[in-house]
Amino acid sequence: MATFEELYRQHVQAVFRFALSVAGKREVAEDLTSEAFLALHRNLASIDQSQLPGWLLTVVRNRARDWWRRQIVERRYAEQFVAAPEPEAPPVESWLLESADLKQVHRVCLALRYVQGMTRAEIAARTGLTEMQVKGHLQYALTLLRKAHGVQET
């Protein structure tokens, strides 16, 4: 039977990553993570520890639902979203989605910068990366893009 601290150290990264993915903001992800472990602390005696981390992820998901319900009241989101219409995607889009040279982090940074039009600071705020990391990933991805499309160095 592991202690609370042992369970915290074992699962905190997985819980935080999940929280960050569903809330999109680092400070909210920390709040959700904290609430999940506080719930674990309250129920430590009655919980079957083999149910972790699923039990913690469910707490995060339920709290995230409440958080999103409040966000929707505060922010007005469009109710319908359209899928990308025809005609076919330009070659650079196919490369962004399919190139085996790119890691997922490169695809996301490229898409947020050149498709959703975010600044590096905005990308950093929404992904939890630092601005320096975003800059580095974009630089690397642009180097690959230049090679893939035969753009001349200037």
């Binding site: 039990w55 899928a83 990308a84 889009e93 050149y114 498709v115 039009g117």
Partner: protein, 313 residues
Amino acid sequence: MTTDRHDWDREERQALAGLEGQIDAMRRRHIGDPPFELLRAAPADVLPEDLQASVSEHLSASAMSRTLAEGLGEDAPTLSTEEQERLLARIMKEARKESAPVNAWGWLRPVLVGSGVVAMASLVWIVARETEVSERLGPPETQVVVALPPAAPPFLLPFEKPDVRLGMGALTWRGAAPRERAPATDDGNQLLADLKPGLDAYRRNDYAAANRELTALASRYPGTIEIHFYQGVSRLFLDDYPGALAAFDAADAVGDQMFAADVSWYRAVAEQRSGSVAQARARLEGICSARGPDAGRACTALDQLAKASANPQ
């Protein structure tokens, strides 16, 4: 959108020289896409119903949005050691606050103590008087309280073993596991290599080994539906119903549409078998009335439950 190509810096302009038209075309194609935060949240099924349906529908049609929804893979930020310690300290502080007596009401203590003394004196007087009365009336009837074990459901919903299926997320996994256990497959897919021992054990009906292998992966790949789903089914075969429910909870949290119907069905089975019959029935009613691919077996299961409750064993 907050920037366009006029905001690119010199380095970007150089890198993208000659590709401006394609970049513009790409942006125009996705001008109506949901914002990033909604794309990331939708797979976990945490958005309010209407928005969830709308974003999910969009995701099924847009490869670009699915790429964003996948997130950063193994480069997703983690908590530094300092941040972990700070968060732990915050949790422990909250926990202590919850368990500590409420000092703000300390001034009430003398009043409460005084009231307590009066109440105790009254109680002693009442008990003494009752004893006196009951002694006059004779001994009370002996009451025997027998603690019954929680009733197990007399009827257990049958279920069949689902075949192993792999979703697009697993088949196209591009990351690397934080701590490698098995060499990656020929196409470099570390997740598939890590899944193999657990799924092989599941295929040969060795559910204890499958559960062990998949449990070891659960915290390393929390977003991988196959791990939680086959872990849940393995636990059902091992009669570990609370464990199965926990695994299906984690599978639910991933929110993979391809597995959603199966997760719901096997979860209903786990609920019924663990004694939460009302919950299972409510879930089955939802599946039965939704007329989806699992409607038939859910409606049949409801009939079986109705018969079982009419004719308890």
